[in-house]
Symmetry: C2
Amino acid sequence: MRRPALALLTTSLLLAGGFANAADTGIPATAVKTAEQLRDKALHDDTAYQVVKSLTTEVGPRLAGGPNDQRARDWAVAKFKALGFDKVYTEPATYPLWVRHHESGSIVAPFPQQLVLTALGYSPGTPKGGLTAQVVAFDSLAALKAADPATIKGKIVYVGYRMQRHQDGHDYGMGSAVRTAGAVVAADKGAAGYLLRSAGTDAHERIAHTGVTGFRPGGKAIPAAALSNPDADQLERVLAYGKPVTVKLDLDCGIVGEYTGANVIGEITGKKYPDQVVAIGGHLDSWDPGTGAIDDGAGIAISMAAAKLIHDLPQRPDRTIRVIAFANEEMGLWGARAYADKHAKEVANFMLGTDSDLGAGKVYRMSASVKPEARHAIQQIADVLKPLGVAYDATRPGGGGSDLGSMHAKGMAALTLDQDATWYFDWHHTSNDTLDKIDPRELAQNVAVYAAWTYMAAEADGDFGSAPGAFAGDGAED
Amino acid sequence: MRRPALALLTTSLLLAGGFANAADTGIPATAVKTAEQLRDKALHDDTAYQVVKSLTTEVGPRLAGGPNDQRARDWAVAKFKALGFDKVYTEPATYPLWVRHHESGSIVAPFPQQLVLTALGYSPGTPKGGLTAQVVAFDSLAALKAADPATIKGKIVYVGYRMQRHQDGHDYGMGSAVRTAGAVVAADKGAAGYLLRSAGTDAHERIAHTGVTGFRPGGKAIPAAALSNPDADQLERVLAYGKPVTVKLDLDCGIVGEYTGANVIGEITGKKYPDQVVAIGGHLDSWDPGTGAIDDGAGIAISMAAAKLIHDLPQRPDRTIRVIAFANEEMGLWGARAYADKHAKEVANFMLGTDSDLGAGKVYRMSASVKPEARHAIQQIADVLKPLGVAYDATRPGGGGSDLGSMHAKGMAALTLDQDATWYFDWHHTSNDTLDKIDPRELAQNVAVYAAWTYMAAEADGDFGSAPGAFAGDGAED
């Protein structure tokens, strides 16, 4: 959820005509021309598809700290090297280690029936033999918040919010709040367990959407799981009979210690200002039921492929293109926060950045948080992206994406490149997050967007306003 | 797969003008009018939806001989009685008891990854600890049949046939042949195990389609399972690397004895010829991963609701309407065969019949196997069904459906009422076979069809040609 940034709105309108002052940041005409060539070449380049195919086929699910965590990092190092990146390295990130061994659930009474569900990240397990309790149901997070704890104590709370489909995916704001805050509210009110209707826009798949809860190590926590949408329908139908409904949860999962993984980083080294970087990326971890194709193999693939296209130019760009494959985004942005903490002091060297983490649908909108004097350069980028169907919305801030948002919060100038998320939340965080959900042409459009803007930012005359504490009021983060 | 019946074609064309001889079977005008009223009332009646909602919600999965078998029969007896049927009884059916305890699978090498699969009915289990073997792949049943057994011996055979979507669902002929015959061929050639790409038309769901194999008790059998379509894609991608691929199957399932269930039967007793019956129905069992909504809760609901509408008329029809909820259709038509064996000698009393077992999509086509002198009555039925979008194809035989096909094979005159199966095989035999897949309006259209034709057949002046051994050459069964 983002608020329009009114200060930027005013500035952008003043500059909408494209008049640039001498002090303004601009992109040289030769760089614009090269960016257009990169854009057009990217549309016919299948590197990104080959990268995500390789990741999902050869590694597969990548639960942070799980059996594939090291395999995924080895894969990323090898892939960066195979693509010819100038520099490949890792930076450690430490986080709680949550494991999932087993999960099942059923309606016990009045009508016994298995339920398809999935434990939420950071959920503790149930006692051996399972947790059996009566269900108390709410249709929204607000209703749960308003409930008398006496009606909840010792019961399994169920919240049946139905996430709605939108191009920009904004209802995930509420969907994920039901998952994260809902579990915390239920625990605080004395619930024995927590169930939600999956935060997903599919209505008919017996496939549950996992995701992290709001529990954190050391805090109060109760077993928490998401029902598939048809199973939520089933539970609601049974509840509608008006008899007490008892559910059994059997979850073998929980936090078992700490794990040190790593962000894996590849660079195309800038020839003129090697220490100044344009930052892109995605997250290398995924949820475990699927193979992490759209979340976020696509982001890894888009950023690697965009940088590879720039790598293949006759000469290196002026500044460094840094592709960061972040560790453990899913359970709390652990890689991103480790990265931002480590690099906060260098934030002025991060010219412009954003990662890709909303699947493989086409980019349809761009916005930016930059200094006013860089609006002209952003307009130049927008002009190059326009033929790809990307509309520039100067009234909105740029947030930097889910992971590089942490660097934006430190003061990095940032873009937001909104992808069409119409179908994304059908598959998000489920076993259905597999390669077949990616349209290679839509993926290539993303690469075209990233190759073009990344190159232009790397070639800009001037900067975009990155500085410690810059953009604190842009509204990109609520 | 059905062949056009040329003899019937000629006859039907002669009678297409609607001229009836005195010896012809016909439907009295008052009965036609009542049938039209039943038809129109059915479109606004939600009994069928309430029945299938009740069955799937209160009972759920109904694997033949499984924990819900008795619950389902109790439900059916209670539902027939609650709907006011004049007579409710059961007739036993005995069959092999196959159980499913656990199933999992994975690619072991070169790229370890879990596979979503489901054991096939009558598959034996793997040895404790699983079966691990190299995969040998074929793209069709024909290719497997042509293969040298030396290339297969000791390996896990995989057949990757992709079932195609058609309105009449005819490619299930090949899809199910890969599942049934493919497993037998593989076993005969010395394979250690058998895998197929699910016989389903969904392409993107991590949900596998179960179903029976061709194994029979006492015959040669090997562990056999179906991969979800995305998992079949994954296996094929890994195979395309050209390295040996090893898969592990871990199936805990098998035939453990014999079980005696029952067909559950409800009747609206005919006032004039109570011993003459019009037979409809569906099968009460379902596969276990889903709740058997479309397969075949829908058929049970359609036939119960159609008979209930006739029950609610001011007086009983001339002949008995018999609704049969068949036992264990899924693992080899055991209920249907027990029924036909028991009632073969009374076949002449079965005026006309067909069951409903292709989901809840609209009926779009009707055909019939009747004596030539009953074509006029069939045309009268067709005229009443026409406003529902049902086209009468006089060139095709009527098969009686999957279960009442067994009575047709004994000589019962039969209809075929083809339903739109465009989407049916996306969900068929999977965990996705749940209530939300049923459109109440399409279900009601089916009820309108069944109520109308059933009533007309029950009120006919004359018969439809049922006799021992009749219709043997009609091509309805290959």
